[in-house]
């Protein structure tokens, strides 16, 4: 559905996107994972037609986005990172304006507005000014404002920034439902949990480069270990950490030591060490690696620290 080929975008001397190439298939829930400043929003803005690339091509259903912009705009819906709503207007008034921009009128528009507000549980606040909404409610409205014209491709640029878990979950469920109904979604985030939960395929981006691309399983197979072990960083575990150093990667963050064993290292050897030091088993958590580990492996930095 969407093809990007060697897309490059610069802001002065800064290269925001450096030769990005990717395909997004129809019905896919594609995630763009990367830290702040990685180039996610720039990539979204290029796809949305807000900016033009210095080099490379972007096509939607075979049509170049630059030359077929008016057609593309009808097929695209953008959920901006900001809450791009008019705060002094009511929810209905906001949706009416954005619907009319896509040529929607009359009963059709009213029907879509009612359905949209119902879908994000805002029907009872339809006539309230948006500035009186909570952050989560504003985010939900921000989302449905991009859906009134029923786009084929929805671009979500970090749509859950700064909201409560309940609202975030509501947004996730709504997006999952839309995706099940056939909507193609590109979802940018710096939360690996979101990408893990929502996305069928993920592109890891940093410093304007697409570092890795694939399903979660495909990305995890790039790791040189299948399991990782977490334990608290305490004086009691310090000797253990020192002994593990030659056998894998050790990273300490938030008082937790994360041990990723080198290929060939047997976990039985690890547990023998813990027994020898009389460390109780409940200190240790063995888990499948996450996208955080993938990012760390690819960039040498933690996603949270980047």
């Amino acid at each position: 559905m969407l093809q990007l080929h060697s897309v490059t975008k610069r802001y002065g001397s800064l290269t925001a996107l450096d030769g990005i190439s990717l395909d997004v298939a129809r019905g896919e829930f594609f995630g763009l994972l990367g830290p702040n400043g990685a180039g996610k929003s720039t990539l979204m803005s290029l796809i949305a037609g807000l900016r033009a690339p210095e080099a490379g091509t972007l096509t939607l259903d075979g049509l170049p986005l630059t030359s077929a912009r008016s057609t593309a705009r009808l097929a695209l819906g953008l959920v901006p990172q900001h809450i791009a709503l008019y705060p002094d207007l009511t929810a209905v008034e906001n949706l009416r304006i954005f619907g009319e921009l896509y040529g929607l009128r009359g009963a059709d528009l009213h029907g879509r507005i009612d359905a949209a507000l119902e879908a994000v549980q805002l029907a009872d606040r339809a006539r309230d000014q948006v500035k009186n909404f909570s952050g989560g409610m504003q985010r939900r409205l921000n989302l449905v404002a991009a859906l009134l014209h029923r786009p084929k491709l929805l671009l979500c640029d970090e749509p859950t920034v700064g909201i409560d878990p309940q609202s975030r979950n509501a947004i996730f469920e709504y997006l999952e439902r839309l995706n099940r109904e056939g909507l193609t979604i590109i979802y940018s985030t710096h939360y690996m949990e979101e990408a893990t939960r929502l996305c069928s395929r993920i592109g890891v981006i940093d410093h304007g480069k697409l570092l890795a691309l694939g399903t979660l399983d495909e990305l995890l197979t790039r790791l040189p270990f299948d399991e990782e072990i977490l334990f608290p960083a305490t004086p009691a575990t310090t000797p253990l950490a020192a002994q593990l150093q030659p056998h894998g990667d050790l990273a300490t963050s938030g008082g937790i030591v994360r041990f990723r064993p080198r290929p060939g290292y047997k976990l039985s050897a690890f547990y023998a060490l813990t027994e020898a030091q009389a460390l109780p088993p409940h200190l240790f958590t063995q888990q499948r690696p996450t996208l955080e580990a993938v990012f760390l492996h690819l960039t040498g930095r933690s996603l949270r620290d980047a």
Partner: protein
């Protein structure tokens, strides 16, 4: 640290970081004071009104009037016009030319003096002059009246002598009058010395030497005669040195208000346009600053991702500004009608038309400010400065003739000036659509140029990221 001190420190830190606030607090007031002092000629010798066009028609045929016209030319308040401004080949102005020229749109002068054929008559004692005016601005009109009377009265004695001669000739006959002159001249020459023949010739030419008594004695006293003199001076001094009272009884001024004679509330009618345009400029500038709010909220991203172009956004803002301005102007004029009796309703269609063009010009100004500013605070500071500057030199506060002549040329580049011209043309001069068309054209031209520049800047600026 005490909470109040901590909070105080916070405010100072914010202030220091806010370039717009710093410039509004220090740089803008300083620039304003300097600029307005310069505009109004504070502490300058050439301060006061200058270059007010004054048409002078001399139909009297008296030799002494040439001196009067020379004196008027020497007065910096006036720019004397004695030739028809558009006739080809060039010819002197005639009395019949004055009224049509003063009534025409963009009149080349709004004041005229006619020295008629009966300026000096043997059928009555004293002089007869005709003064035509379009007293659109009261301050300016009073100034013109004052300086004109002063200049004329200081040259009256010579003309008055001619008037006396004419009457004496009629009553005594030419021979008896000649003998009278000769007798007086010889008596004066034998008593005080001098050439009796020269004295006789002077008397025959009606030069009785009154001018020596009536001319102000030095430059400082001469300025005191002027209405533009220092208001702090005591009025008694002015009274002593003025010669106006002495001659006002024997100079007959026929005054003729050519334009605006039927206006019911002249003062309010002449002032309301200036008020209106200032309010409008502030309103539309604030409205254009909403572009920054929408940019900061990311709304432009959403809009531009939809089938909406930058041009759509800018033109919708422009049309909104024009609509807002039109409503505001109409409300203001209707209020002035209700409060001060300005006659608005009979001229409403044409007034609304001028309002549309003025609102368009003002809105384009607001858009230009937004396009060249980097933040709403910067836009607000710049708009305040420019609005006050344009209002001052455009004539919204004082008549532009109170400024040096070269600034008066810049006045005509401001939309304040042309908007006020439009309002005045409709409400004061009661001109027709055809007559106000050039003003509408100018306002339209200003709109096109300013809005074009704004759009060009928007496409290269930061508003759309």
């Amino acid at each position: 640290m005490h909470p109040i001190l901590a909070l105080l420190r916070k405010d100072f830190l914010h202030f220091r970081r806010n370039k717009a606030a710093v410039s509004l607090t220090f740089a803008v007031p300083f620039a304003m004071i300097w600029l307005f002092g310069w505009i109004f000629g504070v502490n300058r010798k050439d301060s006061g009104p200058s270059g007010i066009p004054l048409a002078v028609v001399d139909a009297s045929g008296h030799a002494a009037t040439a001196k009067l016209i020379t004196a008027l030319r020497a007065e910096k308040t006036f720019r004397i016009i004695t030739e028809h401004p558009s006739a080809l080949p060039k010819r002197p102005l005639a009395e019949a030319d004055l009224r049509p020229l003063m009534e025409a749109p963009g009149a080349p002068f709004r004041f005229a003096v006619v020295l008629p054929a009966d300026l000096v008559s043997h059928t009555r004692l004293g002089l007869h002059l005709i003064f035509l005016s379009n007293p659109r601005n009261e301050i300016e009109t009073q100034t013109v009246n004052g300086i004109l009377q002063k200049t004329i009265f200081s040259h009256v004695p010579e003309l008055l002598g001619q008037s006396l001669q004419a009457n004496a000739k009629r009553f005594l006959g030419e021979d008896t009058l000649r003998q009278f002159h000769r007798g007086i001249a010889r008596t004066v020459a034998s008593t005080f010395g001098g050439d009796a023949d020269a004295l006789e010739r002077s008397m025959a030419a009606a030069d009785f030497g009154f001018g020596a008594f009536t001319q102000p004695r030095d430059e400082s006293l001469r300025r005191l005669d002027s209405p533009a003199a220092d208001p702090n001076q005591k009025p008694e001094i002015k009274k002593k040195t003025s010669t106006a009272d002495l001659f006002s009884q024997i100079v007959k001024f026929d005054t003729d208000q050519v334009v605006g004679a039927k206006v019911r509330s002249p003062m309010a009618t002449s002032l309301v346009g200036g008020w209106a345009i200032q309010f409008l400029l502030f309103a539309v500038s604030a409205s254009a600053a909403s572009l920054f709010r929408e940019r900061d909220a990311g709304i432009f991203q959403r809009l531009l991702a939809a089938p909406v172009t930058r041009a759509h956004i800018l033109w919708s803002k422009f049309l909104y500004g024009v609509g807002l301005g039109l409503v505001q102007l109409v409300v203001l004029f209707v209020a002035s009608s209700w409060l001060y009796g300005v006659e608005v309703l009979p001229h409403l269609p044409l007034l609304a038309l001028v309002c549309v063009f003025a609102a368009a010009a003002c809105t384009s100004f607001g858009m230009l400010i937004a396009s060249i500013s980097t933040s709403p605070e910067a836009a607000s500071g710049l708009a305040t400065f420019l609005i006050m500057f344009m209002s001052a030199i455009g004539g919204a506060w004082f008549p532009i003739t109170f400024m040096p002549e070269f600034i008066q040329y810049f006045s005509k580049l401001t939309l304040v000036y042309w908007s006020m011209e439009g309002f005045s043309a409709v409400l004061w001069a009661r001109q027709s659509l055809g007559q106000i068309f050039p003003i509408l054209g100018l306002l339209g031209g200003i709109t096109v140029v300013v809005m074009g520049t704004a759009i060009w800047r928007f496409n290269r600026g930061r508003i759309f990221g």
